[in-house]
Amino acid sequence: MLTRQRIYWIIRDMHLYAGLFVSPFVLVFAFSVFALVHPSRQSRPTVSGSRTVRNLYVPADIEKDIGSAGLVAVRRILDQCMVRGEIGFIQHLPRENRLIVPVSVPGRETVVVIDLKGRTADVSNRETGVMGSLALLHKSPGPHLVDIRMNWLPMRIWRWVADSTVYLILFLSASGIYLWLLLRAARRVGVVLLAAGALSFVGIIYALIG
């Protein structure tokens, strides 16, 4: 039977090991906040390379369905261009008979402009660096274009990792409160700081909502 002492040690070990495992992801989310909240306009990523791919196999009527079903056909073209990553959206320009497809990988943005009639694709890359990589991971999967997003396996795995990070943070904070409550000497100051944090939280949100 589990004694209270045993429960304490189990929770303490789980707090330690779960915290160590999730710590890099917490740092990713923490540092990416600075990139998202203070985006550097001077260091906008510049085109680091461009090329044209010719003689592509373009599936018939690809432009007629640029939703989730069209992803497969577009992915087939991207494979021919040796471009991998998460497709952001598919934009059809009917007059030019072109598709514009931005593709993201942490650290790099690629824009592929597919000429459907000429069966060519212009591929341009932008390196976004480590902070760009962190910012992309922070924002993924995000709330937009639900039907097509997470169309690349590593990003589907990342969605699971991002959710797990949140659940582990909630576990760490709950187990942290349990462990703190057992520290009698730290209770009074802890309660004051917990209340101060809650008050400042309510205060700033009250001011923002108005």
């Binding site: 209270r4 002492q5 304490y8 330690l16 090991y17 160590l20 495992f21 710590s23 890099p24 917490v26 740092l27 990713v28 989310f29 923490a30 540092f31 906040v33 600075f34 990139a35 998202l36 909240v37 203070h38 985006p39 306009r41 990988v105 942490p106 650290g107 790099r108 480590v130 990589s133 962190l134 991971l137 995000g142 639900v146 396996l153 590593p154 990792v161 991002a162 959710d163 943070i169 909630l170 904070s173 942290g176 409160i177 703190w180 057992l182 520290l183 000497a185 730290a186 100051v189 802890g190 700081l193 917990l194 944090g197 939280f201 309510v202 700033i204 001011a207 923002l208 909502i209 108005g210």
Partner: protein, 221 residues
């Protein structure tokens, strides 16, 4: 129950880094708790827009009012927009939604968590039309997560409301606080020799997995 952690009193005194670090770990965690829970929970909401219970947009309330306004004095677009908002009794982060064409037409959006005001003005006629969109608590929470007044891919909009600046400073402080908690926890773990092997295994597993993602998946997947 009296735990061994409780039995070991908190050592105080200058220069006692171990004690200071331990206190910083849980006191900082307690202070930031409400904020961390908000951003954790809203992060889940943002990643799961199909969760029906938190779908706030269809239930939004919209109303439109028209009001007479004075032509704002000459100045920058921001100063003029702020002047118009003052006349309308509104406050919020100003966002430029359309290019300014005719001199007499001046349209912009002002938003704050939970409310969006789309302002269209005809300065020649001294008339303003305000479309007000109000969302419920789920919408407020979701907007709080992303309310920074700037976007990396949008060079036109700058942060222009004092409360947005305070909120972004709060975000910075939470991020910095989390970093302190994490880095401090490494030291606390290292000071427990009997936990080093398993701790190192978990830490390395986390770092390797994280590096795979941050490096742009430069592995065969």
């Amino acid at each position: 129950m009296r735990s061994s952690a409780e039995a070991a009193p908190l050592r105080r005194g200058p220069g006692n880094f171990e004690s200071w670090n331990r206190c910083a770990h849980f006191y900082l965690g307690l202070y930031l708790l409400s904020f961390v829970w908000l951003f954790s929970f809203t992060g889940l909401l943002l990643n799961h827009p199909r969760w029906a219970f938190a779908d706030f947009w269809p239930g939004r309330k919209e109303s439109t009012i028209e009001q007479r306004i004075e032509r704002p004095p000459a100045g920058t677009d921001l100063e003029q927009a702020r002047n118009i908002l003052d006349q309308l009794g509104l406050q919020g982060e100003i966002e430029w939604t359309v290019e300014r064409g005719e001199a007499s037409r001046f349209d912009f959006r002002a938003s704050r968590p939970g409310r969006i005001f789309e302002v269209s003005t005809d300065l020649g006629r001294g008339q303003a039309r305000v479309r007000r969109i109000e969302v419920n608590g789920w919408g407020v929470m979701r907007m709080l997560h992303t309310f920074s007044g700037v976007r990396a891919d949008d060079t036109r909009n700058e942060r222009d409301w004092i409360l947005t600046s305070i909120w972004t400073l709060t975000m910075d402080a939470i991020a910095a606080g989390l970093a302190v908690i994490v880095l401090g926890s490494y030291y606390m773990w290292w000071r427990l020799p009997q936990k080093r092997v398993w701790g190192l295994a978990f830490l390395l597993a986390g770092w390797v997995l994280c590096a795979v993602f941050v490096s742009g998946f430069n592995v065969s997947l």
